[in-house]
């Protein structure tokens, strides 16, 4: 029943969610979210090409990961991983928590989303939210943004809801575009680690070669190759 009850969570999935007053009957929010999930399924292939992956779905709870490529390499990384709570949807926007993609526990995001204003990056994870005490995504369409005292003049119901700002596909798009900014900035930094990655790869490859070939104590199986490094191909990045 809406009005007097609290948002409740059964089991351990997303159990860290903030308990808010339940304002919308569960069946209504479920119906709305299920409709969006059905649409997501129809567009799943397109979203997957962009690296938008649903990791899990539970009752009014969605776990979403955004995969990004690092610079001009083929290295995929989890640029963002969040849990979305759709209780009270869509009288209220979904609540977003950054989570660890492995443990699904709340974390401070490794890559913090940014917006570009001209050439000036604007940080979108400015600190802890006063209610959740956790890092939050400071963007319209997210419960943490609209419930923050600094944004009480920017109501969810005054246009953002009508534009569908809290819809699952739009939140994925926001996370995707705002974490791309991070990787654009860090390409140079990340590429400097390429030699280290290569050195590690050489050591691992040499170990694999050594383990896969029978050897006599003190004698390499192929003495003529014993001191030759294993060549690992990699793309040359920017200096």
């Amino acid at each position: 029943m809406a009005g007097n009850a609290e948002v409740t969570h059964v089991g351990t999935v997303g159990a860290f969610r903030l308990r808010r007053p339940l304002l919308v009957p569960l069946v209504v929010s479920r119906e709305k979210l299920n409709g969006e999930l059905a649409q997501w399924e129809q567009n799943r292939d397109l979203y997957a090409q962009r690296g938008w992956l649903l990791l899990g779905v539970d009752d009014l709870w969605v776990e979403l990961a955004i995969i990004q490529k690092v610079g001009n390499t083929a290295w995929p990384v989890v640029g963002a991983c969040v849990g979305l709570d759709y209780h009270n949807y869509d009288l209220e926007p979904p609540s977003l928590t950054f989570i660890d993609p492995l443990t699904r526990a709340p974390v401070d995001p490794v890559f913090k989303p940014h917006q570009l204003e001209g050439q000036q990056p604007r940080l979108l994870v400015p600190g802890e939210h006063p209610s959740t005490k956790r890092p939050f995504l400071c963007l319209p369409g997210i419960w943490e943004y609209h419930s923050h005292p600094e944004h009480d003049g920017d109501s969810w119901l005054a246009g953002h809801r009508a534009m569908g700002a809290g819809r699952l596909a739009n939140i994925a798009n926001h996370l995707w575009s705002t974490t791309r900014v991070v990787f654009a900035q860090e390409i140079q930094v990340n590429m400097k680690f390429a030699p280290a990655f290569e050195a590690s790869a050489v050591q691992m490859a040499q170990a694999e070669v050594a383990n896969s070939q029978p050897q006599t104590r003190g004698e390499p199986a192929h003495p003529e190759q014993a001191d030759e490094p294993v060549a690992i191909a990699h793309d040359e990045g920017p200096a």
Partner: protein
């Protein structure tokens, strides 16, 4: 079905596009002489978002490439049957 057909133009000048508006797919038929702004307006209208200003939305190819709404549709490298996405811009938040 939306779209304005410029008199005297043949079917070769029309593109059938699928535009995914906030996650929901809608079909639009547009003339390649129209600007992409028109594609956005038609998609918004067809998806029940009539009256929304296209400049508050972003139009992307399936690959994710952002399209300039002022561009002529025929110059955008689109093919008949292509899928685009139309989603609200992120809005302003955060801090410098």
């Amino acid at each position: 079905m939306g779209g304005v057909i410029v008199p005297g133009k043949s079917k070769d000048h029309l593109l059938n596009l699928t535009v995914i508006v906030s996650g929901a797919a809608t079909q639009v038929k547009v003339n390649i002489e129209e600007k992409l702004d028109h594609v956005a307006r038609e998609a918004l209208r067809e998806s029940g978002n009539a009256g929304q200003a296209p400049d508050r939305w972003e139009l992307r190819k399936a690959s994710g490439e952002l399209l300039d709404m002022a561009m002529r549709t025929g110059d955008a490298g689109l093919n008949d049957g292509d899928t685009l996405t139309l989603q609200p811009k992120s809005g302003h938040g955060g801090e410098r």
